[in-house]
């Protein structure tokens, strides 16, 4: 059996010693030159960082970013405030109140009932996509965009003005 002291379960065990440095080591110059060499080598290697947000990485097609509340091809909101997204949400990030559609609002809301307010707390959201999966009306989707940073907590509570799909995007969506 191997010696108990030299046994390393992780394979990364190193013995620490406090022996005196030699003269060359005390100079530090070879070590500095070695470090500079490593830095210099990195100048000629491909760069790892990208200039977000001007530059964006390509995401996987199943990437789950910030939410969007869809409109149908006529521009009416699909969400009917059934509450299934909030029910399925493990982080309890979604809240909503509903209202009844009045006469003359058929072009605005697809169903008889609609979400009067719809809020997602992005600080709570874990982007699991269960809301998207639960939605019976194909109203909520997680997009390829990331939720941007903000200075205040209030900025992370997304209301309908941030979530509902823009009218000008409807055409590109139906293509």
């Amino acid at each position: 059996m191997a010696d108990f002291k030299s046994l390393s379960l992780s394979g990364r065990k190193k013995d620490v010693s406090d022996k005196d440095m030699t003269f060359m080591e005390k100079l530090y110059l070879p070590a500095i030159a070695k470090g500079m060499g490593i830095t210099l080598r990195h100048f000629f290697k491909p760069k790892v960082t990208i200039q977000y947000p001007e530059q964006k990485r390509e995401f996987s097609p199943i990437f789950r970013g910030r939410h969007i509340l869809m409109r149908d091809e006529n521009g009416a909101e699909r969400c009917t405030a059934c509450g299934l997204c909030a029910l399925s949400c493990p982080a309890e990030a979604i809240t909503m109140t509903s209202s009844e559609r009045k006469k003359g609002e058929e072009h605005l809301y697809r169903e008889e009932k609609y979400a009067d307010t719809y809020e997602i707390n992005m600080l709570r959201c874990i982007f699991c996509g269960l809301c998207e999966e639960a939605c019976p009306k194909e109203a909520i989707f997680l997009t390829q965009d990331m939720a941007p940073a903000d200075y205040k907590r209030e900025g992370f509570i997304y209301g309908k003005e941030k979530l509902v799909m823009k009218m000008e995007d409807i055409k590109s969506n139906t293509k």
Binding site: T80, G83, L87, S98, E111, K113
Partner: protein
């Protein structure tokens, strides 16, 4: 008293009891579901065909099986009768078909419907139904009707169980609504758009197994699973005043009667069904008007339980630290760590 065996469980019941009520005496999975039968309403049952069971032995006197499935809600038991419900493949297959029939003309508007989450048809479809539909034809449609200013009738969702008409017959004195027309044109309607204004008329909302009759004061306010049900009571001259208050925060969103395991109105202390009056149901929605007794327990599988965390009332004692100090009993004997105290004594000293 005659004995009846349902799914292998024998129970003794009074002569004249229906199979369904005998099964309810046993309870559990043995009980056939019922959409139209309501034990608190005389004459109800026999319409939805959901409770059909197989009778594999008619009685001791005539042990022949009944040739067809029988509606358990209106078939009285015989001595020595043997009934198969969950154990019969025939019944399961039939029930699947009946659910399909019930859903044939039922609109798929559960996301909009206020009954969703506590709907008997939803539960039934979930338990027995098939996922897809084979129905290609157009469903029958009706306009929404306001029955009075507090009740809304969605005839499209109605499964014609007739429960609400029995409420009108047996609880109110001036019956103004019923079923008109026949076949697939049959619909619940009032007599020439008459308003239902009787004090007990609101009970037709509780009695309705689907979302055909809904509370207009609660219409689209919230979803049932976002609300917290509490048992509450108040002094009421017309009814027992014992209700379930559905609250969101400190606000009462709606009031319903207290419902038992079969979603029927519970009995009060005198053994009468505790139907509630319209004043309690629609007009008293201030928390101050009610005495809240405590949270109402729903079935374990109910969606209404979601997000409601019931904390246990027992005090948790973490005795790990004390145990560590004490060490093992055999060690204590050897090196006397803490005198001769037992663990129980030290624990009680610590408190």
């Amino acid at each position: 008293m005659p004995k009846v065996t349902i799914d292998g469980v024998t129970v003794e019941v009074e002569a004249g009891t229906t199979i369904l009520n005998a099964a309810r005496k046993i309870g559990g999975d043995v009980v056939p579901p019922a959409m139209c039968y309501y034990s608190k309403l005389k004459g109800s049952g026999g319409k939805c065909r959901v409770c059909l069971v197989e009778i594999s032995k008619g009685s001791d006197a005539n042990p022949n099986p009944m040739p067809k499935l029988q509606a358990s809600c209106c078939t009285p038991i015989m001595d020595g009768m043997e009934v198969k419900n969950m154990t019969s493949a025939k019944v399961q297959d039939m029930r699947k078909g009946v659910v399909e029939f019930l859903l044939m003309n039922h609109p798929l508007d559960c996301p909009i419907c206020d009954q969703a989450g506590e709907c008997d048809l939803q539960n039934l479809g979930y338990n027995y139904g098939v996922e897809g539909t084979r129905y290609k034809e157009e469903r029958r449609t009706f306009d929404k009707i306001d029955i009075g200013d507090k009740i809304q009738l969605h005839m499209t969702r109605c499964i014609l169980c007739y429960r609400c008409t029995y409420v009108a017959d047996q609880l109110t004195d001036n019956r103004v609504h019923g079923v008109v027309n026949r076949g697939d044109a049959a619909e619940i309607s009032t007599y020439i758009q008459n308003a239902v204004t009787n004090e007990m008329s609101g009970n037709m909302i509780d009695v309705c197994p689907v979302g055909a009759l809904t509370d207009k004061t609660f219409r689209f306010k919230s979803r049932v699973w976002f609300l917290k049900p509490f048992d509450a009571h108040r002094d009421c001259k017309t009814c027992s005043g014992k209700v379930t208050a559905w609250m969101f925060g400190n606000e009462i969103y709606r009031i319903t009667a207290r419902k038992d395991a079969y979603h029927e109105v519970e009995n009060d202390e005198n053994g009468n069904p505790a139907f509630i009056c319209n004043t309690c149901r629609f007009d008293t929605k201030d928390v101050k008007q009610w005495t809240i007794e405590g949270p109402r327990k729903m079935e374990n599988w109910s969606v209404i339980n979601q997000g409601k965390y019931m904390k246990g009332k027992e005090k948790v004692i973490i005795d790990g630290d004390i145990r560590l100090q004490l060490g093992r009993a055999e060690d204590r004997k050897k090196i006397s760590m803490n005198g001769t105290n037992t663990l129980e004594q030290t624990l009680s000293d610590g408190q």
